[in-house]
Structure formats: structure tokens, C-alpha cells
Amino acid sequence: MSTDDATSPTVVDLRAASFGHHGRPVVTGIDLTVTRGEVLALLGPNGSGKTTLVTGLLGLSEHLGGTVEVLGTPLDRLRDRTRIGYVPQRHTLTGGVRATVSEIVSTGLLATRPWWRPAGRRDRDAVRRALETVGLADRARFDVDTLSGGQQRRVLIARALVAQPDVLVMDEPTAGVDHASQGVLAGVLHRLATSGTTMLVVTHELEALRGVVDRIVELDAGHLAFDGSPHGYAAHQAERARAAGRGAA
């Protein structure tokens, strides 16, 4: 979404990368290239390392081996972290105090300006645009506590979008959200995808993202088990089901 690096087609490039916690690898030997405009769903059972992999890109889990480049820069030398927008898996936004939707979203811009500079008109415009993108502009001044789970998820997306990142990393954006809100959420993701936003979505619910995702990567026990189109993934699953059926018989 940023203009200066718009020419570079590779957004994320992993070569034999491994990530983990406290020096112990959770995912290993990952080769993965994400190009601009791709919407990639990252699937896999619980504990397969999906979250460790994406948080590794964000510098939240440890990078233990291989090379990781984001926008052509090695991860540990990436200064502007807001180039990767992060939508964490959180079920609630509220801490111990009240806050409005726009107060939460504007925290996404803090790292883009020096500590002594207050928010200016451009920052406020960016917050308004991000809220329009997720369809919450009319709720900008609401206490986040009064929003539904699905709406709070969209507040988190707006907070990640507000700094105009090159890639949006989302951890289970549709989990634990009721069906109607899931529809609205999928609409937002669809709108982002058509506007060319690169996305890496960790999910269990591929169905909710039908028509949005154009590539599927599956992790199993810390390794890549599949990388291809949604169509190919359906065939891969059918194949696996047949193999399992034969094994059982």
C-alpha cells in the first residue's frame, strides 16, 4: 500500500527459516515467498506453529535460523516495523479503562512519528480513512466496550491499516465471531483484497474467507505441508482423505 516500495514484487521472503521461543524452534525449514497483492491463508492444526511463524515476522517470536527478508531488508535490520500491519488474536480490546474506537486505532500511528510530536491533521485523516475501510466510521467515538466481537475485530484491523502497511498479518480474524459479523468481516477482507492489499491470514475457517484467499499454505508439526492454490488444496485434501481411507481399510 505504501508507494515508495511499490515496485518490489516480493513482500516477504523466507529461506530455510526457523522460529521459536526461548531458543527452542517451533517451526523449521520454512521456504516461503509472498508477492505483492497476494492473499495467503495459513492453515494447520493447533500447535502446528502458525502463530509462531507470523509472530516471527513481527519480531515477537525468536528468529532462530535461515534468512528472513521483509521488503528486501533482513528482518533484524527492518527499522520501520509499521510496514507490517499486525492484527493480533484478541477477543477483547478493553483493558482496565475506557477508550473510544478512534483512540485505539490512532495507537497504530504512534511508531510512525517521533515521541515528542502529537497527532496532526494527517494522522486524524488516516484514522478516519482506516475506519471507513472497515466500515466503522460512524462508530469512531464509541466506547469500544459497547461494540460486538466482530466489530472489535474490525477495530484491530483498522489499527493495523492506519499506518498503511505493505502487508497485513492477521491471526484468526474470524475466530469466535458470530455468523452475521463474520459476513461483514469477510466483506472487509474482500474489499482490502480487491484494493491490492497483501495479506497473510492465519485461520481455521477457510470457508469464511472463500473468494478472498488466492493461495493456501498449510503447516503441520512445524513444517510446510502444502503450498498452492485453493483449488489445489481441495484436491490435496481429497487425496489425503482417500489415503486415510485406504489406511483405515
Binding site: 509472530t55 513481527l58 519480531g59 515477537l60 527499522r79 520501520d80 516495523r81 509499521t82 507490517i84 499486525y86 493480533p88 484478541r90 480490546l93 483493558g95 482496565g96 479503562v97 475506557r98 477508550a99 473510544t100 483512540e103 485505539i104 490512532s106 495507537t107 497504530g108 504512534l110 511508531a111 515521541w115 515528542w116 497527532a119 471507513e132 466500515g135 466503522l136 466510521a137 460512524d138 462508530r139 467515538r141 464509541f142 466506547d143 459497547t146 461494540l147 460486538s148 466489530q151 489499527r159 499506518a163 452475521a180 459479523s181 461483514v184
Partner: protein, 352 residues
């Protein structure tokens, strides 16, 4: 009142109360947000050890207490970062070790008379000297300045540390700055309300403010106002009622909390009774939802089967069912977009 202000020590006391009442809630709101309300209490315990060292070495207890509290504040953050479960026990050791060492050392020096100790534990505002007031005012000015400048960053880190770190904010540095500010607040408030009651002035005004506001910004203003009202009010009350100043300040803050909680409950009840919910529907209005959007004052209504729905908390309200152009013929065709005043009355003129 003029009789009270004629007294030197009362003028000092009131000034000290003013700066403490302003600074303490400004730092405290982030402790409330991080659900670390009792950290101030722990730092107060450790500060007593600092006071004791000051008493023994005949240096100013304010500065030794400041050093002890700042070291403890930084240690707490470093222990939290390691994320060990034993961290909780480490904090307990530090806090109780601090207060125990303080009591032992001060009693050893002062002998059986405990006036000095009581003064630090529960506040001895009338013994505040002009020099003390100048130090407190300068430290409070630093606290206020730093919290105002870094307010949004503290808010972001306290609200979602993981996201703050991912976006590149210096999370540990900000947490340590906040810990130092908390320690400075503890020492500034030490003479005014006492080391055992300090946490109250950081937390209770914020708890009251939460009842009255819907935004972080508004809550900050309310908390500072309530903090100043209870600290200055408490000192004045303690002068006339001849009560202990520290305890009086805290009781007054609790009374204001009760008033705020009542006012908040009443306001919500009145608001609920005075506006009308739209029929329940699963559809969520938004751009491109298929319903016409109509600007209505500071928000947008959506035309839904001929009546207007406006988002409100977890539901939709019915707003005036005619567009403003019909309701107010004088304003012409652009009325739909005018900045009309939106009041509760709007909600009442709904016809079913």
C-alpha cells in the same frame, strides 16, 4: 478560610496537596489500565526503607526514598519482562522487605517514639516546609510534563503490549519510564498522604472517572479534577475537622467515587429510558450496505424501510423518521447534510 491561609504551614500543605492531587491520577490511570493498581502501594513500602536510610545517615529522606522507589520500580519492570511465575514472589519479598527494614531502622534510631514513622506512613502534611513544597512542585511538574507528552504511548503499551512491540514502539523503555514516574509520584505524595495511602490517590480518582466518561481522554480530565478536589478538599476538611490529613483525603476520594458511581448509573438509566431501540436485526449498516446513508448531526443514520437507524452501543436507535428537509422546511434542500444539533429529543419524536 482566610484564617487558614494566613498560616504558613497550611499554605504549604495546600500547595503540596494541589500538585500531588494533579500528578498522582495522571500516572495512576496507566496502572489501572495495566491492572497493576497495587504497584504504587508496593513502591510505597520500599520507599520507607529509603526514608530510614535517610534518617540514619541524616540526609534528606525525600531523596533517599526517591532512589529506593525508583530502583524498586525499575526492578519490577525487569522482573515482569522475564515473565516467571516466581516474579510475583520476588515482588512480595521486595515490598515487605522494604517496609520491614524501614520500620526496624527508624525505630532503632528514634527509640520508642514513633511520631517520625507515623508521619511517613500516614502523612504529616502540616510539617511540610517551603523547601519541601518547592521540591514537590518541581517533581510534579516533571511528572505532568512527561505523562502529557508520552500519554498516547503509555496508553498504547498498557492497552496492547504485543501490538506496541510489533509496531516498533520501545515497550520496555516506556514501561521503565512509567515505573520511574510512579516512584516519583510515591515520594511526592509521601508527606501529603503517607506511604501506606499513596496508591489510593493514584487509583481511586481514576476509578471514579471511569464511571463518568466514555473515552480515555475525558477520563484523564475527570481523574485529575477528582484528584485535586479530594486532595485539596481533604486538607481543608482536616484543618476544620481536626482530622488526619492523609486519611481524610482518601475518604473524600472514596466519597467522590461513590457519587460518581451513582451519577454514572443514573445517567445510563435515564439515557436508556429516553431513547428508543430500533427493531432487532442482524444486518449491520455501513458503507455500501444497500440502505441510504443520511448525515444527521455528528453521525450517520441509515434509511431502513422508511425510518432511520443510528448505531448506538450494541444496537440501533430510531431517529426522527423524516429527513430534516421535511421536518424543517426553512433549511432547504441541503438540510440532509447540515450540521444539525442532535439531542435526546430527536430520539423521542419517533412515531411508531
Amino acid at each position: 478560610m482566610s484564617e487558614m491561609l494566613a498560616l504558613d504551614f497550611m499554605r504549604n500543605a495546600l500547595l503540596a496537596a494541589l500538585v500531588v492531587g494533579l500528578a498522582a491520577p495522571m500516572v495512576g490511570i496507566f496502572l489501572v489500565q495495566r491492572r497493576l493498581s497495587l504497584v504504587g502501594d508496593g513502591l510505597g513500602h520500599v520507599a520507607l526503607a529509603g526514608v530510614a536510610i535517610g534518617v540514619v545517615t541524616s540526609t534528606s529522606p525525600v531523596w533517599t526514598a526517591l532512589v529506593a522507589a525508583v530502583l524498586a520500580g525499575v526492578a519490577i519492570e525487569l522482573i515482569r519482562v522475564r515473565g516467571r511465575t516466581s516474579g510475583d514472589v520476588a515482588l512480595a519479598l521486595m515490598f515487605y522487605g522494604g517496609i520491614a527494614a524501614g520500620v526496624v531502622i527508624i525505630n532503632k534510631v528514634d527509640g520508642a517514639q514513633t511520631a517520625n514513622l507515623t508521619g511517613y506512613l500516614f502523612g504529616a502534611i502540616t510539617t511540610t516546609t517551603t523547601a519541601d513544597v518547592i521540591v514537590f512542585a518541581a517533581l510534579s511538574a516533571v511528572i505532568v510534563l512527561v505523562t502529557v507528552v508520552l500519554r498516547q504511548r503509555f496508553f498504547a503499551v498498557a492497552g496492547d503490549e504485543e501490538f506496541a512491540r510489533a509496531s516498533g514502539l520501545p515497550v520496555l523503555a516506556l514501561n521503565i519510564v512509567l515505573a520511574v514516574l510512579t516512584a516519583v509520584t510515591v515520594v511526592v505524595a509521601m508527606r501529603v498522604i503517607g506511604l501506606l495511602l499513596i496508591s489510593a490517590l493514584m487509583i481511586i480518582p481514576n476509578a471514579a472517572a471511569q464511571q463518568l466518561s466514555a473515552s480515555f481522554r475525558a477520563a484523564g480530565w475527570w481523574a485529575a479534577g477528582i484528584g485535586v478536589a479530594s486532595s485539596v478538599g481533604g486538607v481543608v476538611t482536616s484543618y476544620y475537622a481536626d482530622t488526619a490529613s492523609g486519611g481524610t483525603i482518601v475518604l473524600l476520594a472514596i466519597a467522590l467515587f461513590a457519587v460518581a458511581a451513582l451519577a454514572g448509573t443514573l445517567r445510563r438509566a435515564v439515557a436508556a429510558a429516553r431513547h428508543r431501540h430500533a427493531e432487532r436485526h442482524l444486518h449491520e449498516h455501513g458503507p455500501g450496505c444497500g440502505h441510504e446513508a443520511v448525515a444527521h448531526g455528528d453521525h450517520v443514520d441509515y434509511l431502513h424501510d422508511g425510518h432511520r437507524h443510528a448505531a448506538h452501543e450494541g444496537h440501533y436507535d430510531e431517529h426522527a423518521d423524516h429527513p430534516p428537509a421535511d421536518a424543517d422546511p426553512g433549511s432547504g434542500g441541503v438540510a440532509g447534510a447540515r450540521a444539525g444539533r442532535h439531542t435526546l429529543g430527536d430520539r423521542e419524536e419517533v412515531t411508531r
